[in-house]
């Protein structure tokens, strides 16, 4: 009791106490002095006004996708152009990253790892970079200010700051909303759906190529009534996979975006930081889960039904 009391007293010395009070003042003062408007949360990606490619409107999630692609290209070129036999620095990091996941994929896919690794790693790297782009300051918060196109969307007064304008927290009937230039790529339902379709089609294609018509035996097996029923379940689960792939990724990243927006609306300073850490983790985890699941499905599709017991882990 006494020791814990003195430990407490030692912790609350003058310096630590002043830090704590300063942080609290920053948080509470920030809430009062710099109130933040709640960003417009909408499911479909916003179109950038007046920007089209071949007649198709450009959405802000498309820009985020291209940015993620460019980032990956830049990393690949930075490593490729200065390739060394004995890796140092950045090359070392990239090689370690690839090797870790290559070994992991080998554990799951066995001898087919060379065939499946490119798709696995492409999905992993692309989603990782695309998800982490969400956390860069300016994404979701820099954009074009315009009147909302639909009824029922909360809009705000603006304040001019030099040539730029910012939204103020004052709600008004004929106000403005922010259309960000960049919005996390996976918050557009089309990106997870496209990836899920690519994976599903490739899984079926690989299944047929490896097993030939034997692949169909998984779905249409009338040897016993039970196997016939299991075949129907397998067939349904192939389609259910597309939905679960899509919504797992979309839901997690979209929820992350909403979470960060709402937290910085509630408390502008410091409190949002741990949530950025959480989103770093979620972004990696979702990329990893998507890629691992694709790999597992590929491995399952290339394993003949009667070989299951040998290959079971």
């Amino acid at each position: 009791m006494q020791s814990s009391g003195s430990a407490l007293r030692r912790f609350f010395n003058r310096r630590n106490t002043s830090y704590i009070v300063g942080v609290l003042i920053l948080i509470i003062g920030g809430r009062i002095l710099f109130p933040v408007p709640l960003p417009t949360i909408q499911l479909p990606a916003e179109k950038i006004p007046g920007l089209t490619i071949l007649g198709f409107p450009v959405t802000n999630t498309l820009i985020a996708t291209l940015l993620a692609d460019l980032t990956l290209l830049a990393i690949a070129l930075a490593v490729r152009l200065r390739l060394q036999l004995i890796p140092t620095g950045f090359q070392n990091l990239v090689e370690w990253f690839l090797e870790t996941f290559y070994n992991l994929a080998e554990e799951i896919a066995g001898e087919r790892v060379k065939q499946f690794f490119p798709l696995f790693m492409t999905i992993l790297l692309f989603l990782l970079v695309a998800n982490w782009w969400e956390l860069i300051p300016g994404v979701d918060s820099i954009g074009i200010i315009e009147h909302p196109h639909e009824e029922g969307i909360q809009s705000y007064e603006i304040a001019e700051v030099g040539p730029l304008a910012i939204l103020t927290p004052q709600v008004s009937d004929h106000g403005y909303i922010l259309v960000p230039f960049v919005r996390a790529a996976a918050t557009d339902l089309n990106l997870p759906l496209a990836l899920a379709l690519i994976v599903t089609v490739y899984v079926q294609f690989t299944g047929f190529r490896t097993l030939g018509l034997r692949y169909l035996r998984k779905f249409f097996n009338f040897s016993t009534p039970i196997m016939a029923f299991v075949g129907v379940l397998e067939l349904v689960s192939e389609f259910a996979r597309i939905i679960s792939f899509t919504f797992r990724l979309f839901g997690n990243i979209f929820a992350g975006q909403v979470l960060l927006a709402v937290i910085s609306f509630l408390v502008p300073f410091l409190i949002a930081l741990p949530f950025y850490g959480l989103e770093l983790f979620v972004g990696f985890m979702q990329a990893f889960v998507f890629a691992i699941l694709a790999l597992v499905f590929l491995t399952m599709a290339t394993t003949a039904h009667d070989e299951h017991s040998e290959h079971a882990h």
């Binding site: 949360i41 919504f247 839901g251 997690n252 909403v258």
Partner: protein, 70 residues
């Protein structure tokens, strides 16, 4: 009352995954307690299991967001 459906969607949808995540963590902790050397591998698989349980809650969240904003 307008927001009741979306509130119910995420509220009820979070019950199952909550229990599930608890069970996953329970199993993993017991396994680590029995066999501390395997902690690293168990932790990786535990996180994978948690992510799968959590994605059910995320489906509920998507439904709640659709009900609220669309």
């Amino acid at each position: 009352m307008e927001f009741l459906p979306s509130g119910l969607a995420i509220g009820l949808g979070a019950v199952g995954p909550g229990i599930g995540i608890g069970l996953v963590a329970l199993g993993a902790l017991q396994a680590i307690g029995r066999n501390p050397e395997a902690a690293g591998e168990i932790r990786t698989n535990m996180i994978l299991g948690i992510v799968f349980a959590e994605s059910v809650a995320i489906y509920a969240l998507v439904m709640a967001l659709i009900l609220r904003f669309v």
